[in-house]
Symmetry: C2
Subunit: 360 residues, 2 copies
């Protein structure tokens, strides 16, 4: 009697909102086999719904049906991972990823190959008086080997954080695939948080904030994070086996810190670097030209200097100017220009292309 009451009661729970899906879920974005994509949103009280994204030249309005479900179909769209937003009456309601699959796995798609691990580690930053988190990629079989590996410090952009290169950039998947294909020697990748002081903290505000951020980040990297990594991971601890790269803000940080510390780094890469983050007066005005006066010495120490930017990036002209400065200064480097704007599509491709050049 008691057991059957219990069974009955528990059966009822299946209908409980904790378990049940909310009504017939709207499939959105809905990618069709012909790579056209339908966006849908239930918004009976809205009067204006739009989709924006890096696959659209301009925002597209959705149209409302009699039940209050808004929809629009766009495309076909080329295989890629895109960002999109839906907005209701001018306010963004959904930010998401749109994955349009290719006929065969893309370079950023997970394949049945050996996988590295991504570890979140917390370290005490004496220089910043903060506990900070870094994401650390170790290659397949790291835990079972006794080998020491070269290490790449890989920096995110403004608005991102230490999770960005794995969450949006799929760095671990790209590196797994490159290693499986014999294109990349195993390495450790350290992804720190790029702001010395988080937004909203007193140190992140005021006229001197950019300079404080830049100097604080660099000091934490050199005095706290690198020693932490070397004490806790089997990495090769000399400059020959230490690289620094980053995108946007992180690209400027990588070029700024890397090129001014060739005693620490032998490989430096800037992906769509927002150079103003280190060269502007507000940031303390790093003078790259002054670093390049003895070009022979720089070239002797630099095993790779890689700079890339998409031609549709609003930063393109400034990066091209930087390429010009490198050239007139006699600094050996790669300047890679591609299609694309200031997006993760570009940075995933750049990582895939640049990483194999770091440690050959």
């Amino acid at each position: 009697m008691r057991a059957s009451r219990l069974t009955l009661l528990l059966a009822v729970l299946v209908a409980h909102p904790v378990l049940a899906q909310r009504g017939p879920a709207l499939r959105s974005p809905d990618v069709q086999p012909d790579r056209r994509v339908t966006f849908r949103l239930s918004a009976p009280n809205a009067t204006d719904v739009r989709v924006t994204g890096d696959f659209l030249a301009a925002p597209q309005p959705l149209t409302r049906d009699e039940r209050g479900v808004w929809s629009v179909t766009v495309g076909p769209i080329a295989p890629e991972i895109y960002g999109y937003q839906l907005s209701v009456n001018g306010v963004t309601t959904t930010r998401g990823s749109l994955v349009v699959p290719g006929a065969t796995p893309m370079f950023y798609d997970q394949r049945p190959v050996p996988h590295g691990a991504v570890e979140q580690r917390w370290y005490d930053s004496k220089s910043l008086q903060l506990t900070r988190r870094a994401f650390i990629y170790t290659p397949p079989n790291y835990a079972r080997s006794s080998e020491r590996y070269p290490v790449l410090y890989l920096l995110h952009g403004a608005g991102g954080d230490e999770s960005g290169w794995t969450e949006n950039g799929r760095a671990n998947v790209i590196l797994d695939n490159l290693m499986a294909d014999g294109k990349l020697k195993p390495l450790v990748v350290v992804m720190p948080y790029g702001n010395a002081y988080p937004n909203g903290s007193p140190q992140a505000e005021g006229a001197d904030a950019m300079r404080r951020q830049r100097e604080g980040f660099q000091r934490d990297l050199i005095e706290d994070l690198i020693p932490f990594v070397q004490a806790n991971y089997r990495v090769q601890a000399d400059r020959e086996h230490r690289a620094i790269a980053g995108l946007s803000l992180g690209g400027a940080q990588a070029l700024g810190t890397g090129l001014s510390h060739l005693d620490l780094f032998s490989r430096v890469a800037g992906l769509s670097p927002a150079l103003g983050a280190v060269t502007s007066p507000q940031a303390g005005g790093l003078d790259f030209k002054a670093l390049f006066t003895d070009s022979k010495k720089v070239n002797d120490r630099l095993k790779l200097l890689w700079v890339g930017c998409g031609t549709e990036d609003t930063l393109f002209n400034s990066v091209k100017e930087f390429d010009g400065l490198l050239t007139t200064s006699g600094i050996t480097h790669v300047f890679r220009t591609t299609d694309g704007a200031h997006t993760w599509q570009v940075w995933r491709r750049y990582l895939n292309e640049m990483a194999p050049l770091l440690f050959k």
Copy 2:
């Protein structure tokens, strides 16, 4: 000349949207020292903006100022981590966390103590023919020791994923603090993905889906994940040092799998368990009562059976019924009832209370 043009150009970049904050950022949620909280949203074209959250008895309307900024102040609110949503014309635009700090650190606040690591690992599930991800917490100093540790398999709820216990549950911080205070012996915690088949996949649909999910998850756990963990981590590989716990859907999975596999698990905990996920006919109808016929044998094997539920949880009566079944069946257990509903506030507290009881 060239350098000064470059300097000028780069200085201009500081104003570039990549680097610049978007206008004067609206502070929201804005927690005042008296623990009142102001929510703000810029939505000039909206006609209805509301805030909902587990600190509010009912949705609160925001009011519009002449610039189109909507706001409302609520509270004071007790120190906690809450979830909140803002909605515009009936559609949710923002989901976020509201952290109301206490006068001293809460049990879930990061303190300057030794920190464990949280690793994302990918393993090949032969039983599901999928590559799956698990989050794995290792205690402070794990990497430098040669010790073997007991292990807890910790399961998330419906709608969550393997990141939930660290992202929302702050499990790593709670465990770090407990260890620092001498209340918890070091252990490894494995947080798997609780759905055998992700939403939208063919196996996740149809009349048999719940049963397929339950059986698939259990098989992956036992045949793939546990062997993977034991091959790749220094854990004690016997039942005496293996526990299983979970919340909501995961609570039902922990109780269902744990109590039907006492050859594998000696400690079992269900936090606000949604028991229907294993007992309902659609899920294959696990009959707990049948597992309890030889109560002496069950009690001999079970070193801890812990069940907790908040009295405001809509699942409370069903969990209380389950407690009744355990009692009438003569199964030794802890039934913990507390304030609270079906929320992370409750589950963080339960982890903090239950973890020290697992391996004494």
